[in-house]
Amino acid sequence: MKNEQGHHKTGKKYGMVIDLDKCTGCGACMVACMAENNVPFKEDETNKLDNIMWMRVYRMSNGKPFPDADICYIPRPCMHCEAKHGHSPCVSVCPATATDYSHETGIVSQIYTRCFGCRYCMAACPYHARYFNWWDPVWPEGMKNYLSPDVSPRMRGVVEKCSFCFHRYQLAKDKALTAGHREIEESAYQTACTQACPAGAITFGDLDNPKHAVYKLKHDPRAFRLLERLGTNPKVYYVTDREWVRWMADNYQDQEQKAKG
């Protein structure tokens, strides 16, 4: 953390820009994510307090009656926060060092074998991006054979969350090294949700690399981040034309709106 500045020069900062005006709320990203990352599920997933979804699409409404009613879908992966003082809310509270912030990629890891399930990180995360395994995964018959070998399945009693498909980064790196170079191309490392989105609402890449699409998109004046006021410095940006969405995404209260005019 002390030599954070030094790391910044060589390190990458992977992040996402999600265009909320393109998102139709279809949920393809959620499905792709679960399949890619061996996310366990139960027969009855109606109780959202105990299910697991690394990428979750929330529905927001402006609460106005017809004809002003409007709905916005917000896909919410892990924000991979990098707060100014050098740590993310979850990383700083973990008593087991089971989660850490990588200065190489800007990705917040989750080490399942190290986690002992105290769930302090879940309490610390302002985005509800972390989930607890209340049970051992039970796969429908035959599905075990379709699990991804690149992602280890989790056991009961540990916390898990979106990793920006870190295994894909590892594989892309291996491919680059075998081909004799160290640089990973933008297209070589993309998350499952990015590729699954039929509307092309999600863009993924290195936020610090001017050659990557996200670099330009994050500088869009319409871009914002969730609960930006908390100072968590998330790496997931959202873009929308709708002012009420921006307003709600930072949890501004009505009286503030009035004060602002």
Partner: protein, 205 residues
């Protein structure tokens, strides 16, 4: 005088009992338990590395190669063996057995992998061989010089190969390839990076 002698008698017996118990515990813990803990399995074919290394052009990478996507092939599949061994090349009975039982029937050889890491470990051969330019030997030992496949020992509790924990039950290692535990990876990584802490996610998945 008499009183003293009576006192040292029971004490002597206690000490003796302690040492008998201690010796039994040590024997059980250090000799019998490790024997019971590991089951011994023979490789399906007794493979001669030395002979193969002699007759191939590119050393280890002739058979244990990198695929185009950057992944490492590990133990060769039957398809690679068949490139040379469509029919027996020599007169070795093990080769004859290999051709008869596997090549002729088109069945993959169920090799036992000595250095298979647990499911939660991501190991990149590319990073170690291509980037860091390490020799295979540093982790795998002089296996290329072996003339016979050694016995594969499997931990009955965990299912992991003994090569991971190492032969020495006390965990004492003389060579860099004696063990393959996290500490052994970390030892080298700390040396290379000048004490820099690597992110956990680099090896854990």
């Amino acid at each position: 005088m008499d009183g003293k002698g009576q006192e040292s008698g029971p004490r002597g017996i206690l000490v003796l009992y302690f040492f008998i118990g201690f010796t039994i515990s040590v024997i059980i813990g250090w000799i019998i338990f490790p024997k019971l803990l590991y089951s011994q399995k023979k490789q399906p074919i007794d493979f001669n590395h030395a002979l193969h290394v002699e007759s191939v052009a590119e050393g280890c990478e002739s058979c244990h190669f990198f695929r185009e996507d950057g992944s490492f092939s590990g133990i060769p599949k039957l398809a690679q063996c068949i490139e040379c061994h469509e029919s027996a090349m020599g007169e070795n009975p093990e080769e004859a057995k290999f051709v008869e039982e596997y090549v002729a029937k088109g069945i993959e050889v169920p090799w036992l992998s000595y250095s298979r890491q647990p499911d939660c470990v991501f190991f990149s051969h590319a990073a170690h061989i291509k980037m860091a330019e390490l020799e295979c030997k540093i982790c795998h030992g002089p296996i290329g010089e072996s003339e016979h496949s050694r016995i594969y020992e499997e931990n009955r509790l965990t299912g992991y190969s003994r090569d991971i924990w190492g032969k020495n039950i006390a965990g004492i290692k003389q060579n860099s390839w004696d063990r393959m535990k996290m500490d052994d990876c970390a030892e080298c990584h700390a040396d290379m990076g000048g004490g820099r802490k690597d992110a956990c996610f680099v090896c854990h998945k």
